[in-house]
């Protein structure tokens, strides 16, 4: 089959590799009908996530048709249409039983690597480094899905793939970000980063009752998308722009009730702190560039909530913890507990409350993917979301 392989920093290739096979009794093989490139794939592309190795198949946002199931798979059969969550959960451990699916104990074969880095291991993820399980991902024509009784969501209506594809990661991730932000009726919510997760966080904050959402980015087409769903926008790259002043001005001086960092570890900032973080990254004194996190902590109102769906990988420097303590804020974060959100969000799509296709800008083939990673990284061609048909020539 064809698959997109990570071959080194800033180097991905579409290669012919062997087809996946059933390896465990709860496995299923899915013939992928649609897949996508995620913002977090750029952290891999840019070499920020350790334990990526040459040959790793990328991709964790995919859906398709069940091709084959292992002997213990009871709720899927060949021909079923499914969306697969990017976190792999066993459904039986202490964490799955308490709905903390992304903290699953039993799905990371390389748990010891993550334990060494983080203290404890979370669930395995598709196509997201050896530390996170080393599972082959879904920017490919086929994929092996472990614990198929637990993860895949059956699509039993004739909704087109593109409308449900983002249930595999970014829609639930944006939704959990808004839920983690503890949005109350009438709240004002600030969202940094208007990429796909930010867009769905904005839409979800409105669903949960936000009266105003302030969307912060520098890319015109992304800010336009945010305005399209009702947000007010702030372009942080404008001359003399102070985001913190903007947040004060837009909230009657109190600051947003919740701040959502949908950017994560590779934040850009033009000022001195941007230079500071880039230098520290280069000297390996810091692994992440937490410019947005600093601003979110600084900007949130007293007693407010900072929610972090953006990915962080390692060590952060100059995080204003005094501000966090001084204002008594709450911080919530983590990989998405996918399994809690897929079904309710599918229902919202079925009822027509949201059509997630509004973020798609590019539809490509597998062979075009290496080039698309560059465009995605450089934010060229007005890119907002790249969807792949793995069978298109």
């Amino acid at each position: 089959m064809k698959a997109v392989c990570w071959m080194g920093k800033s180097n991905v290739e579409t290669l012919n590799v062997p087809d996946p096979t059933i390896l465990n009794p709860h496995d299923a093989i899915i013939k992928i009908t649609r897949t996508a490139i995620c913002g977090s794939d750029l952290h891999l592309y840019n070499g920020f996530i350790p334990t990526m190795e040459a040959g790793d198949i990328l991709g964790h946002e995919f859906m398709g048709v069940v091709e084959e199931v292992g002997q213990e798979v009871t709720n899927l059969r060949r021909g079923d249409r499914v969306v697969v969550p990017f976190t792999i959960a066993c459904g039986s451990c202490q964490f799955c039983k308490t709905k903390l699916w992304s903290a699953c104990d039993n799905t990371n074969p390389n748990a010891h690597l993550m334990e060494a880095a983080y203290g404890y291991s979370g669930s395995g993820l598709f196509g997201f480094s050896h530390m996170m399980g080393g599972y082959a991902g879904g920017q490919a024509q086929y994929v092996r899905v472990p614990f198929a009784n637990v993860g895949p969501l059956k699509i039993e209506t004739d909704l087109p793939d593109e409308k449900v594809l983002f249930l595999s990661d970014i829609f639930p991730t944006g939704y959990m970000a808004a839920e983690n932000a503890q949005v109350q009726e009438g709240d004002t919510v600030a969202v940094w980063g208007c990429g796909p997760v930010g867009q769905f966080a904005i839409a979800s904050a409105f669903m949960l009752g936000a009266a105003r959402v302030i969307a912060i980015d520098r890319i015109p087409e992304r800010l336009a998308l945010a305005r399209q769903v009702g947000a007010v926008t702030v372009d942080y790259s404008e001359d003399d722009m102070s985001v913190l002043t903007a947040l004060k001005d837009l909230t009657g001086g109190t600051g947003p009730d919740s701040c959502i960092d949908a950017v994560g570890l590779e934040a850009h900032s033009g000022d001195l702190q941007g230079v500071y973080d880039t230098v520290k990254n280069a000297l390996l004194l810091e692994t992440d560039r937490p410019a947005v996190l600093r601003q979110a902590i600084q900007g949130v109102r007293k007693g407010g909530t900072v929610s972090i769906p953006g990915v962080y990988g390692g060590l952060l420097d100059k995080v204003p913890f005094g501000a966090a303590f001084g204002k008594g804020i709450t911080m919530k974060m983590g990989q998405t507990n996918m399994h809690n959100y897929m079904k309710p969000l599918l229902e919202r799509i079925e009822k027509g409350q949201i059509d997630p296709t509004y973020i798609i800008s590019h539809r490509v083939t597998l062979d075009q993917v290496p080039e698309m990673y560059k465009i995605w990284r450089d934010k060229k061609e007005n890119v907002t979301k790249i969807v792949i048909d793995p069978w298109a020539a």
Binding site: E53, G55, I57, N106, T107, P109, Y135, A136
Partner: protein, 215 residues
């Protein structure tokens, strides 16, 4: 009450009661340090099952190859004795083992009684606090010898890590009926560096099958 851990290799009773010596008279005791050519490993896991079921799975020594790395065969030779075969590539070691303390649904203590390995161990099954499953605590002791050398040749796993991974496999098997694996999945070309890194990550150590090995 609990006694301090024995310094003797192949101790007849490595320790008594209370989670392999984690708490002694209400006070936390650090894992024992390896010394004098001896390796000690203590590790624990919380498993969503009951002590009796987990005891039965562990006590059925002939099922050990399903979840213990590199163990290819275990044959019962008596009510409390068994013969163990471990293999890595072309290397192979064998030893006999004896259960010296057997408390159903609670605790098993064993030691080697001849062959290529000098080891002893204890496993304890206790209900977790707040009815949150069963805490399984393992304490194992190895005398360095041919066994350790063989283990050392297996890239990415020293005996200490192997004990930790084996308990992880035991938990996964007990909770889910399988052991997570990636061996056998497709990938692009790894190159030499990729191969070495995979060894360093322990990905070259065969994941136990989680099902009965056909003999």
């Amino acid at each position: 009450m609990s006694k301090p851990l024995s310094e003797k290799p192949n101790a007849e009773a490595i320790c008594s009661s209370v989670a392999a010596g984690i708490l002694i008279n209400g006070h936390y005791a650090s894992p024992p340090e390896g010394k004098d050519g001896k390796i000690w490993v203590r590790t624990c896991a919380k498993v969503q099952s009951d002590p009796a079921t987990l005891y039965a799975l562990w006590r059925n020594v002939e099922r050990a190859p399903e979840w213990q790395e590199q163990i290819v065969e275990v044959r019962k030779t008596g009510e409390r004795t068994s013969h163990w075969v471990m293999r890595s590539g072309d290397d192979r070691i064998e030893w006999d083992s004896e259960i010296v303390n057997d408390e159903p649904a609670k605790r098993i203590v064993w030691r080697s009684i001849g062959g290529d390995s000098d080891n002893a161990g204890e496993v304890i099954f206790e209900s977790a606090l707040g009815n949150r499953g069963t805490v399984v605590t393992v304490l194992q002791e190895f005398r360095m010898g041919k066994l350790a050398s063989l283990w050392e040749t297996i890239a990415g796993r020293n005996p200490k890590q192997a004990v930790i991974e084996n308990l992880r496999h035991f938990k996964a098997l007990a909770e889910t009926g399988e052991i997570p694996r990636t061996q056998g999945q497709p990938s692009g070309p790894r190159g030499r560096v990729g191969e070495i890194k995979q060894s360093a990550y322990g990905e070259k150590t065969p994941t136990p099958p989680a099902t009965r090995i056909a003999s």
